[in-house]
Symmetry: C2
Subunit: 375 residues, 2 copies
């Protein structure tokens, strides 16, 4: 298939094209502490044959953990442990797909992603690429996938990205950091087991939770918003406030953050993220900074665009004594800044959502550079 | 298939069996004022052949309306107008299925329900019975349907029942008023177009909206509740309060009530309704009283079970100057009361949700009779 820049440009969602989108929801969901153990029974009904394996893509922090031993591997199923230290990459997807195709005569029965946004996004992309030719990079954009993906299951082990419910998988490609946005991206099955988020380190918990908080602020303050997305965004925001500002018992806090992530992901259905995500994409591409942290690094300086949101963000940060790293952009040269700025400014729907069709009158390369310089 | 009472008893959901339910969500949803006009394009991709029609089951208030002319009927498609003056019945479903099967050589491409809870429930049940033998009454209960339904689309024209998103279709049968609760009941596609709710008469708007309000109160105060259902129930409740207690512009009010209905329906995923619904089922069976009104008639007298909810209900009723009918049960004899009480007490999961496993120590026939007598 052709994947010229023009085609992608044609598919970029505008407020108008987004308006009556026939939104794909996750058709099956299990919720509950301990619900992970339903996975075996769920997969059993989806096995095509004993030669068509399930491939489990699992965050490598779980290698030799209790969770590892609970993965219901049978027949020729395979567990592949993957580090989530770096953002997921198109080449990584291509390599995984090649490896899986070389290892088996039959197409897998399905892909199961177990981990945070990185693992969930990899699982979605591998499921797509197993059934679509070429490289993952060919499908970065909007609605470029034309053949359905193989059955895929998402099991989040950290809350906030919304990757478990969204129709995108955001990948770092050779040319850009951009999602494969398509109806075939959405998981066929999700298991929401808040217990799995028990051991998450505090900083990671905060940064990933803030991904949810920030995309709710962006969605609720965006020009794309309608009543559908608003209702989900408001609920996710309420839950984030409970989790990060109140003093909830641990279990309740885990439950609520998992639901915040879910509703936050849904709030993007008819909406979009905004300034923080656009600029965070630049940081991710240029410096490999992980998405949640990147959002926080940018968002702290966005009082001009999201005044109330930034005040609440500061309260949350102070309450949990989170020190954001400083001087991230100190050593960058002009070329680096230009690349970051070009990546960020390329996210047109995000800017249009944040600031309306005339966003270019506000957002200039100089403006973005001045914000990046503070980081 | 066998549908003995025992089988049904075995499938009655308990708090334990409900715990890790793999919940089916509507896999496709469109939201927006004017989104009804997407229906033609959506159906086009689902047509099996020009001889496999779409059957539109439509509330007869729309006969010769503007909406009638916008229904995208082509080939041998058929529009069947149905009165929603009475609760949907199993015999009505059976008759519709017979009529459709006699009229066409091929199985329909799908069923489209356009209307309130009655029409949506009929559409769901017809879609199931087209692919399953016997009578609709055979499937009243929990998880008795074993063959998937034909493709079916739900388009609500009044907000509150949650029928657009739930996995049940509640029918009045020869022996009982009870839902066909199954994974095959859920719609394959929903179109949420708040504009369609424009001409709803005030009383109907209120009673149907209160269906949502009341099942949120029941769900949030139930013993089955988990964090998944709670988050949806809280959002639906917030939206109901905005709609019925604040002074929103009409369009915003319609948008928000449609989302309240959606989230309210989802809040039942891992939960259940309670006292008002159980007793309203009795009124529906014995007197044919419609579900929304029946809930209100019961709920006003439930201060003992839902003290805060009844206070808010009274505020809403006063604000909108709604006079509930009186003396409904005045002419009933002992036999009538016994039937109603037996129907209501048969709704075991609802009572267990409302009052816990020892509900029978609180709820006796005499207790229910004393409440019914006030109505």
């Amino acid at each position: 298939m052709e994947t010229s820049k023009e085609m992608q440009m044609n598919n970029i969602p505008t407020k108008a094209s987004q308006k009556f989108r026939n939104f794909p929801m996750v058709p099956r969901v299990v919720f509950g502490n301990g619900s992970f153990d339903q996975l075996g029974d769920i997969l059993l009904t989806k096995r095509k044959s004993s030669d068509a394996p399930f491939i489990f893509l699992v965050d490598d922090v779980f290698e030799n953990s209790n969770l590892h031993s609970r993965i219901p591997r049978i027949f020729s199923d395979q567990i592949i442990f993957i580090s989530a230290d770096e953002e997921p990459k198109t080449q990584q997807v291509d390599a995984l797909v090649r490896k899986i195709k070389e290892s088996y005569l039959e197409m897998p029965s399905g892909i199961v992603g177990i981990g945070g946004g990185t693992l969930l996004d990899l699982a979605k992309a591998v499921a797509i690429l197993l059934n679509n030719t070429g490289s993952a990079a060919d499908y970065q954009g909007w609605d470029l996938v034309h053949r359905e993906s193989v059955y895929h299951v998402g099991i989040p082990t950290i809350s906030g990205t919304g990757a478990e419910v969204s129709r995108t998988t955001v990948l770092l490609g050779p040319e850009r950091k951009l999602g494969i946005n398509s109806d075939y991206t959405t998981f066929d099955q999700v298991i929401l087991d808040p217990e799995l988020t028990k051991g998450v380190p505090k900083e990671q918990w905060f940064y990933t939770g803030m991904d949810c908080f920030i995309h709710c602020i962006e969605s609720l303050n965006g020009t794309y918003l309608n009543a559908f997305s608003q209702s989900y965004g408001e609920k996710a925001l309420d839950l984030c406030k409970e989790v990060f500002l109140d003093d909830l018992p641990d279990k309740e806090s885990r439950n609520k953050l998992m639901m915040a992530s879910w509703h936050g992901g849904m709030s993007i259905a008819y909406s979009q993220v905004g300034v923080a995500h656009a600029m965070s994409y630049g940081l991710g591409y240029q410096l490999g900074i992980k998405h949640g942290l990147g959002n926080c690094l940018v968002f702290q300086h966005l009082g001009e665009f999201y005044p109330e949101g930034v005040v609440i963000f500061d309260q949350m940060r102070n309450k949990h004594k989170i020190q954001l790293p400083k001087g991230i952009c100190a050593t960058l040269n002009d070329n680096d800044f230009e690349t970051m700025i070009s990546i960020a400014m390329g996210m047109e729907p995000l800017w249009e959502n944040a600031l309306g069709p005339n966003w270019k009158s506000v957002i200039t390369p100089a403006k973005l550079r001045s914000i990046y310089r503070k980081i």
